[in-house]
C-alpha cells in the first residue's frame, strides 16, 4: 500500500483496468446521466480492457460503440455534458486526439471560462497512452504535457489500481472536464504484461482520491524522483537497486498534472536537495520542465542538483533497439540519480 492512503483493510487485489471499470460501473449505477462512448468499447470491452464487462450490465444504450468520428462523438460528449449529463468519451489511443482536438481544447476546455462560469462541462475524456511495445510513432505517445499545457482540463494519470479507482470516481463526479490518461502497460492486459506494482489491493466500497494530491510512493532522504504513470514503477525498481548501494530515493507520484501538487514536490526537495524528474512524454516544453520550474521559482535555494529523464524530442521509432533507446528505462533513472549525487 502506498503512503498516506489506506486500502480499507482489504486484501482483494485488482488489475488497474478492473479497478477503473469498478468505479465507472458504480457511478453508472448511481446515475443514469453517466454513460460511456467510444470505439470498440461495447462488445469488445475496450481494446485495453477499459470497459470490460460494462455492456453486460448496462447495454448498448449506455455503453455506446460510436463511429470512427472523434470530432463528432467527443463534441457530442461536450454537448451532453453541458445539457447536464455526465458522459465519458474514450479516445482509443491518445495519439488520435488530433482528429477531435478542436472539440477538446477549444470547446470542452474553454466553454466554462468563455461563458464566465455560466456553463460547466462535467465530462471525462479517457485515453490509452504510452509505448514500450513497438507500436511506433502514431500509437505510442503519452502527450501528458500537451493536455496539461492547455488551460481548462484537469489531467489525471493513475499508476496503480488503487489510485485508478479513486481517481475515476473523482473524475466522474467532478464538474469540470477531466482527461483521464491510463497507461496501456499498467492495465493488466493478458497480451501486454504489466510490471509488478500496478496490481494493488482495492477496497470494494467507493472512495475518491482528490485531484492535486501527489503520493509519496517511496520514502527516501537522498534524492527526490518525481514521475507519473508507468515510470512510477520503473523508478521504484531503480530505487530498490540504488538502496543496495546505500542511496535512499524518495518517489513522488504526481497522479494529477492539473492540478499539480507543487507543495509535496517542494517539501520533498527541501528534504533531499536533489531532484530527478522522469517522464515518458517529450522532453522539451513538457512535464519535466514544468516540475523543475515550479521548484526553482520558490525553492531554488533548496535545489542542489537537478536532472530530467524524458523522451528525446523525436517521434517514437518502431524497431525495438530504437524504441528502447528513446523511452526512459530503469537504467536511465539510476544514471540520473547518480548524476545528481555526484553534482556537488
Amino acid at each position: 500500500m502506498t503512503e498516506g492512503e489506506t486500502d480499507g483493510g482489504t486484501d482483494r487485489s485488482l488489475t488497474m483496468s478492473r479497478a477503473m471499470v469498478e468505479a465507472i460501473a458504480h457511478e453508472m449505477r448511481e446515475s443514469n446521466d453517466v454513460f460511456y462512448m467510444g470505439e470498440d468499447i461495447a462488445d469488445y470491452g475496450g481494446i485495453f480492457d477499459s470497459t470490460e464487462g460494462l455492456l453486460d450490465e448496462f447495454g448498448h444504450d449506455r455503453v455506446m460503440d460510436v463511429p470512427i468520428s472523434e470530432t463528432a462523438y467527443i463534441g457530442a460528449a461536450v454537448g451532453a455534458a453541458q445539457a447536464g449529463m455526465r458522459p465519458i468519451a474514450e479516445l482509443m489511443f491518445v495519439d488520435f486526439f488530433g482528429v477531435g482536438m478542436d472539440q477538446i481544447y477549444n470547446q470542452m476546455a474553454k466553454n466554462t471560462y468563455m461563458s464566465g462560469g455560466a456553463v460547466s462541462v462535467p465530462m471525462v475524456l479517457t485515453a490509452a497512452v504510452g509505448g514500450t511495445y513497438n507500436d511506433a510513432a502514431q500509437h505510442s505517445q503519452t502527450l501528458y504535457g500537451t493536455f496539461a499545457h492547455l488551460p481548462g482540463m484537469k489531467v489525471v494519470v493513475p499508476s496503480t489500481a488503487y489510485d485508478a479507482k479513486g481517481l475515476m470516481h473523482n473524475a466522474i463526479r467532478d464538474d469540470d472536464p477531466v482527461v483521464y490518461l491510463f497507461h496501456k502497460r499498467l492495465m493488466g492486459i493478458g497480451w501486454l504484461p504489466a510490471p509488478d506494482g500496478p496490481k494493488t489491493n482495492v477496497p470494494e466500497d467507493e472512495y475518491t482520491i482528490p485531484f492535486g494530491r501527489a503520493d509519496i510512493k517511496r520514502d527516501g532522504a537522498d534524492v527526490t524522483v518525481v514521475t507519473l504513470g508507468l515510470h512510477v514503477h520503473r523508478a521504484l525498481e531503480a530505487a530498490e537497486s540504488l538502496a543496495d548501494d546505500g542511496i535512499d530515493v524518495e518517489i513522488v507520484d504526481l497522479r494529477t498534472l492539473v492540478p499539480l501538487d507543487t507543495e509535496t514536490i517542494r517539501d520533498s526537495v527541501s528534504k533531499t536537495g536533489r531532484l530527478v524528474v522522469v517522464d515518458e512524454d517529450y522532453r522539451s516544453y513538457g512535464v519535466t520542465s514544468e516540475v523543475i520550474a515550479s521548484v526553482a521559482e520558490d525553492g531554488l535555494a533548496d535545489l542542489d542538483a537537478v536532472e530530467r529523464v524524458a523522451l528525446p524530442d523525436v517521434p517514437i521509432p518502431y524497431a525495438r533497439p530504437l524504441e528502447d533507446e528513446v523511452i526512459p528505462d530503469t537504467d536511465d533513472i539510476t544514471t540520473a540519480v547518480h548524476s545528481v549525487l555526484s553534482d556537488e
Binding site: 470505439e39 470498440d40 461495447a42 462488445d43 469488445y44 481494446i47 460503440d65 460510436v66 463511429p67 470512427i68 468520428s69 470530432t71 463528432a72 495519439d95 488520435f96 488530433g98 482528429v99 514500450t132 511495445y133 513497438n134 507500436d135 511506433a136 510513432a137 502514431q138 500509437h139 493478458g190 497480451w191 501486454l192 504484461p193 528525446p312 524530442d313 523525436v314 517521434p315 521509432p317 518502431y318 524497431a319 525495438r320 533497439p321 530504437l322 528502447d324 533507446e325 528513446v326
Partner: protein
C-alpha cells in the same frame, strides 16, 4: 463483359497470391516468439500487425491501372496494396522486421511504410491518408501531368471528417483522385450497421457531386473494370470518383484478436468468398491451364520467401540512429533564411 487482357489477369493473380502468401507467412513469423503466451512486444515482429488476407482483389484490381508516378495512400492494413503498387518487397519486409535496411530504417513499421520510388505511403490514423492523396492530385493538376492519386480506406473510415472533407475538396477542385473504400464489414469489433448510416458507402459520393460505384462481389475482374473507369476519368482530367469494393476479413482485426464479437458463420462466410480462387477460375476460362497457374503461384511464393529471408538477414538499426531524420535538414541552431549582408551587397530591396 470485361475487356481485360489475359496477361493483366495473370499479373493480378500473381500479386494476389503473393499478397495472401505474404500475410500467411507474416502471421507465422509474428506469432513466433509469442508462444506460449501472446505478448505483443515479443518475437521477431513486435507491435500491432493488421493483415489483409481477403482484401487482395481490391489492391490488385485497382493498382493494375497505376504507374509508378501515380500516388497511393493506404491505411493501417497496407500490405496487399503495397505489393500491387510495386513497393520494394525486400525493403518493406525488412521494415516490418525492424531492420536497418528497411524502407524507413526501422523507424516506421508496418503501418507507416513509405516508398517514394513508387509514390506509396500509408498511415495508421483512420482516413488521414485521404487529404495527402488530394494533395498529390492537386500537384498533378498544377504541374499539368496526367498522373493520378488513389486513397484506400476501410468502410469504417467513411465516417471521418478527413474523408468527407477530402471528397469535397477533390470535387470542387476537379482533381484526379480516386477514393477506394475496402468494405470488409467490420471496423475492429464494430459491424457496419451499428456505426454507419448507409449500407453502400459509394452513396457518400452523391452529396459531393462525384460518381460513386460499388463492386459487390469479391471479383478482381469487376474491381479492375470499375477502377479502370474511375482512374481513366481521373487521368483524362474529368475529376474524382469514389469506388467501394466488397472484400472480407479472413483473419482478426489485428494479430491476437480472438474475434469473440464475431459469429462463426460470419467467419466461415468470409473464408468461403475467396477472390483468389475465383480469379483462378476466370483464368482457366481464358485457357490458362493448371500448370501455368501453378507457375504463377510458385513465382509469387518464391518472391515472398526471398523477401522474408533477405529481411531476416539484415542488421538491426544502431540505437543512435533514433536521433536522425526528424528533419531533412538538421537544425543547427540558427537557420539562415536571409541573404547575408555581403551577399545582398548594394542591391535594392
Amino acid at each position: 463483359m470485361s475487356m481485360v487482357a489475359v496477361s493483366e489477369l495473370q499479373e493480378m493473380y500473381e500479386h494476389m497470391v503473393a499478397a495472401r502468401h505474404y500475410e500467411e507467412r507474416l502471421q507465422e513469423e509474428y506469432l513466433e516468439g509469442k508462444q506460449p503466451a501472446f505478448d505483443i512486444s515479443a518475437g521477431p515482429i513486435p507491435g500491432e500487425l493488421h493483415l489483409a488476407a481477403g482484401h487482395e482483389a481490391s489492391g490488385a484490381g485497382v493498382c493494375q491501372h497505376l504507374r509508378d508516378d501515380d500516388t497511393v495512400t493506404a491505411p493501417h492494413r497496407p500490405h496487399h496494396v503495397a505489393i500491387a503498387k510495386g513497393v520494394d518487397l525486400e525493403r518493406m519486409t525488412a521494415e516490418i522486421f525492424g531492420r536497418e535496411t528497411g524502407l524507413s530504417k526501422g523507424k516506421g513499421g508496418h503501418m507507416h511504410l513509405f516508398d517514394p520510388d513508387v509514390n506509396f505511403a500509408c498511415s495508421g490514423i483512420i482516413a488521414e491518408g485521404c487529404p495527402p492523396a488530394v494533395g498529390a492530385g492537386l500537384a498533378a493538376k498544377k504541374r499539368n501531368t496526367d498522373s493520378v492519386a488513389v486513397a484506400f480506406l476501410g468502410e469504417g473510415a467513411i465516417d471521418q471528417g478527413a474523408f468527407l472533407e477530402s471528397l469535397n475538396l477533390a470535387s470542387v477542385q476537379n482533381l484526379p483522385v480516386v477514393f477506394v473504400i475496402e468494405d470488409n464489414d467490420w471496423a475492429i469489433s464494430m459491424p457496419k450497421d451499428r456505426v454507419t448510416d448507409v449500407e453502400n458507402g459509394a452513396q457518400r459520393a452523391e452529396g459531393f457531386d462525384l460518381p460513386g460505384t460499388r463492386v459487390d462481389s469479391d471479383d478482381a475482374v469487376a474491381v479492375y473494370d470499375a477502377a479502370g473507369e474511375a482512374i481513366g476519368r481521373a487521368r483524362d482530367r474529368n475529376g474524382p470518383s469514389l469506388l467501394e469494393v466488397q472484400v472480407h476479413r479472413r483473419m482478426g482485426h489485428f494479430m491476437g484478436d480472438a474475434e469473440g464479437y464475431r459469429s462463426d458463420e460470419d467467419q466461415e462466410a468470409a473464408a468461403q468468398r475467396d477472390s483468389i480462387d475465383r480469379l483462378a477460375g476466370t483464368l482457366r476460362a481464358h485457357d490458362v491451364g493448371g500448370e501455368a497457374l501453378e507457375e504463377l503461384r510458385e513465382r509469387a511464393r518464391n518472391r515472398v520467401e526471398g523477401a522474408i529471408e533477405w529481411a531476416k538477414d539484415q542488421p538491426e538499426p544502431d540505437p543512435e540512429s533514433a536521433y536522425e531524420d526528424v528533419f531533412s535538414t538538421p537544425p543547427s541552431g540558427v537557420t539562415e533564411t536571409a541573404p547575408s549582408a555581403a551577399d545582398s551587397g548594394g542591391e535594392d530591396r
